[in-house]
Symmetry: C2
Subunit: 568 residues, 2 copies
């Protein structure tokens, strides 16, 4: 394949698109450290038995040790693609192809560290315009290629990987050059933005004109608008601004017969919603190139306050009461006791005055009769005019008190705000030390949340027993709605020789618990291949058949990211 490489851009060095480190989350040189967090190592030792003071049992792998399957791209296809995007924008080198093979789930990280590459894309193509995307789609159909759109690469449900036995040429379509805010309709609060725009770049362009989109998923720093739409993302401030499905008004998606154009109208009664078919389509219906989203003027005031509750049950009840009240906070979040302990354990060492304050608080709460091991930390965010923020803080404060909780001020909220995008780094750090950790999230009606939560613990603990590990599940409520909320679970254990098999047992236990308890298979991570085994349980067999009918009719040749969502 050397000839082909010489013809195409051998690497993406000259292409101005940011990618995460090939073997893990985030940018090179940034990682989680615990040396300045004295409570962290003892916490980890206690809950999952992993000794962080020992040597790392694994380190970031060496790329040179990996055996990367060669590109199968054929000369005519390379020529066709190069004609469209220019030779420098068809990239065939191993590193680029590996970066575009997986997302960043624990399954992805373990496979990449172990050089498990049943199939990597044969080329990475960087279109600069919708018209280039349209030509790539035409080429894909002409040559029977498989197209997999790629945004920031943060996916954790396997939506980016080629099917292992794919015989056809696989092209990863990196949308990173389509990264501009094209227009802001200031009268309507609507911004037209290209699908490949990454969170920080996009917010910067909007902020410069006084606007914000207000969509901040955990992956924000490394994910794209197109990716958010394609996976039905939800952000940390979605309580106020809505999930991506609520924010997304207009869309453009390239299909073989042209561009589907969804007008950015506030509401429409035009049959089954095409907008809502494209949202969540994970590349299976076509290539999303442009999205018109609701944007908001940067608020006068923005605050995140911290609260403590004597128990998880009290915290949940308080969030429910807030959702039922006239208060409209931007964030409602409460962690269970394990995640609360983890939060305190990841804080930097308290010294001097702040250590005294912390000890004073603990004494006070003990005197109040709290069991500090059951204490739950909550963050509630407020945005708007000074008056709106003040009023909402007062409304919430009353509700918190009524449920036995107490406010602990802005300090922890500021800290949360600074650290909020750092969590994904823990997956890599933990893996370095022989631990496996990942997440599962669901949504359910208020009435089902607590039974679901208990079932998740029971089911996960049975799974930990089965695989013979000391495991931990932590949880938080991350978003509130009128009729229910999202519960977000993090699970971790010290893995053995077959970490993926162990992971499968635990993951299955948790997803099964969602399904039997009336939750959904996923609240905002999507389906990909990771959640598709539970999709029929969630949407019913006839529902799945209806969805399959849509996918098959839209993609008879299975050229658009086949195998994702429905498994077919």
């Amino acid at each position: 394949m050397t000839d082909l490489k010489a013809k195409a851009g051998a690497t993406d060095a000259g292409i101005d698109v940011k990618h995460m480190k090939w073997w893990g989350w985030g940018v090179e040189g940034v990682a989680f450290h615990h040396e300045d967090k004295p409570a962290f190592a003892p916490f980890v030792k206690k809950v999952v038995g992993v000794d962080l003071h020992g040597d790392a049992v694994a380190v970031a792998p060496s790329f040179d040790d990996l055996d990367i399957p060669a590109s199968r791209l054929q000369a005519p296809v390379l020529a066709a693609l190069s004609m469209i995007v220019g030779e420098g924008h068809v990239v065939l080198d191993d590193m680029s192809r590996v970066v575009h093979t997986y997302g960043k789930s624990i399954r992805d990280l373990i496979r990449i560290r172990n050089g498990v590459f049943p199939r990597v894309p044969d080329a990475v193509v960087y279109p600069a315009t919708e018209s280039e995307v349209a030509k790539i789609v035409a080429t894909a159909l002409e040559h029977d290629l498989v197209l997999i759109p790629f945004g920031g690469g943060s996916n954790i449900v396997g939506a980016l990987e080629p099917q292992p036995h794919e015989e056809r040429t696989v092209v990863s379509l990196d949308m990173g050059r389509l990264d501009r805010v094209l227009d802001i309709d200031e009268d309507s609060g609507l911004a037209v933005i290209q699908a490949g725009a990454q969170g920080p770049d996009m917010e910067e362009q909007l902020n410069a004109k006084g606007w914000t989109m207000g969509h901040f998923p955990d992956s924000f720093t490394h994910s794209t608008l197109g990716g958010w739409v394609a996976t039905r993302s939800s952000g940390m401030q979605s309580d106020k601004f809505g999930d991506i499905a609520d924010m997304t008004r207009g869309l453009r998606m390239v299909r073989p017969d042209g561009v589907v154009v969804i007008r950015a109208v506030p509401s429409a009664s035009t049959g089954p919603s095409l907008r809502e078919m494209i949202i969540g389509s994970e590349g299976r219906l076509g290539i999303i190139t442009e999205v018109t989203v609701q944007v908001h003027r940067i608020p006068e005031k923005r605050e995140i306050l911290a609260y403590l509750f004597p128990s998880w049950e009290a915290g949940l009840k308080a969030m429910q009461a807030i959702a039922e009240s006239d208060a409209t906070p931007s964030v409602t979040r409460v962690s269970n006791e394990f995640e609360t302990e983890m939060s305190f354990a990841t804080s930097k060492e308290s010294k001097g005055a702040s250590a005294l304050v912390m000890k004073g608080l603990q004494r006070f709460l003990k005197a109040k009769g709290w069991n500090l091991e059951k204490m739950c930390l909550s963050f509630i965010g407020y945005e708007g005019t000074d008056e709106h923020v003040d009023r909402n803080e007062k409304l919430v404060s009353k509700i918190v008190k009524k449920h036995g909780g107490m406010g602990v001020g802005k300090g922890p909220g500021v800290l949360y705000d600074q650290k909020k995008f750092d969590t994904p780094y823990l997956r890599d750090f933990f893996l370095d030390h022989g631990g496996a950790a990942d997440v599962s999230e669901t949504a359910a009606p208020w009435s089902k949340l607590l039974p679901l939560y208990r079932e998740v613990y029971a089911s996960a603990n049975r799974a930990f027993d089965k695989i013979g590990v000391k495991g931990l599940v932590m949880a938080h409520l991350s978003h509130s709605y009128h009729s229910g909320a999202c519960l977000y679970f993090t699970f971790a254990f010290e893995h053995g020789e077959a970490p993926l098999e162990q992971y499968d047992v635990v993951k299955k236990a948790i997803q099964d618990a969602f399904i039997v308890s009336g939750g959904t298979v996923s609240h905002h991570h999507g389906v990909g291949v990771e959640h598709s085994p539970w999709l029929a349980d969630d949407v019913s067999v006839p529902g799945l058949a209806l969805m399959q009918g849509l996918l098959d009719s839209a993609d008879a040749g299975a050229n658009f990211n086949p195998g994702k969502i429905t498994g077919k």
Copy 2:
């Protein structure tokens, strides 16, 4: 067919399902009268030239004069259907079949008055359970029947009528016996309700337990939950409670391969949204039997206040400012000057004190420099705790003043609240007097509303000229959203010998204006056959093809209400 009739229930006399009068809106004996509204006849004379003081040029037709095509139902199908629902619930009489042929659009009313029945359903079937619906669906596929679900019969986009050249047996599936509120999850604010429940019955069942759904379309008194979902309905209080698509969490829809069950979760990331495919599907994907909707505790306080604005532009700007503000009213509505004049003209004669107040107000406004002919009436609704209502009224009051408007108290709002469901009676009344009137509604971003509005007037006036009539268009903004609003147009003219051809010209002019101005083909009436000519313009040709693919894959035999939405 006498034998068949003898076997089946000849009429629906014994079936406890309410229907509207066969030839028009609402219940027998209720109609619009203008005798007690002295300003009405002069207004109508002025704006469209129709003389209401003359004799009615038409009267409700006599059923006996009509020539109703006989039922084509064959004995084996009758037997099969009767086995499922019982003989008394398969109805073949002419009156029942006519009631189930059309909705209540002007096209429907004109056709029914003129005995135009290219095709009527061959039978009306009244299932009592989802399991009966499932058996009917199986029978439909076995015998290649056409199934058309029927709720309250209030549709105005032609979604209920059989295709004129349909050769197969057509069955109207009246959902009226599936009318119960099955369950209220008080913890989650979710009610499980059967699809055939009519608005008032449903609210009564909810109210009895302290709940309300808060969905009040114009058709409320004669429409069903299933119909609202199938057509993407929106209600008068949707500003606060959301459109039906927002309220609908869970769904059950019968398909040939079983029941699609959508879990009532607050949000989900499970691929293209099946929920949003079923909402708006107008019977084309299957039969909706049950819906889980968000419900709310009956508010402490509920008020509708009236406001006046010096111009339509000022009224629109004020609604936009309210949508951008911290205020969260339940209703935002402002009528243009023509509809305002019509509103005053349909008021009962003011006498004594109230006449003096009215005159005083007019003098006051003139002194302020208002041109009373440009004045626009607005209604804004508030619901919630006393404190919430008070606060919102204050917030809105400031915005109204800033835009040159003024509050005129509760009186008109109470009147509006009482009369709000009466408007559809006007269509029949006006037809009695030789006038044709109907409605078209759209939604567009704030920035496009005023240009769209002007284009509608220009385009409609060209149409009136073309058909040589004096016509009137009235408008109001009926719902506000973050990024735009719904504009609702009523048009009327004195029709000639070919009212439908004239209507077609005017209707086309208005829908064309929506499309060229960036609006949607319909905000909440649906597509049916009336709006399908504009669907490709709205959702783009590739978008329409994607939708057609879904419909074809879901209904290969075209047994589910064929021809609706996409025209195929």
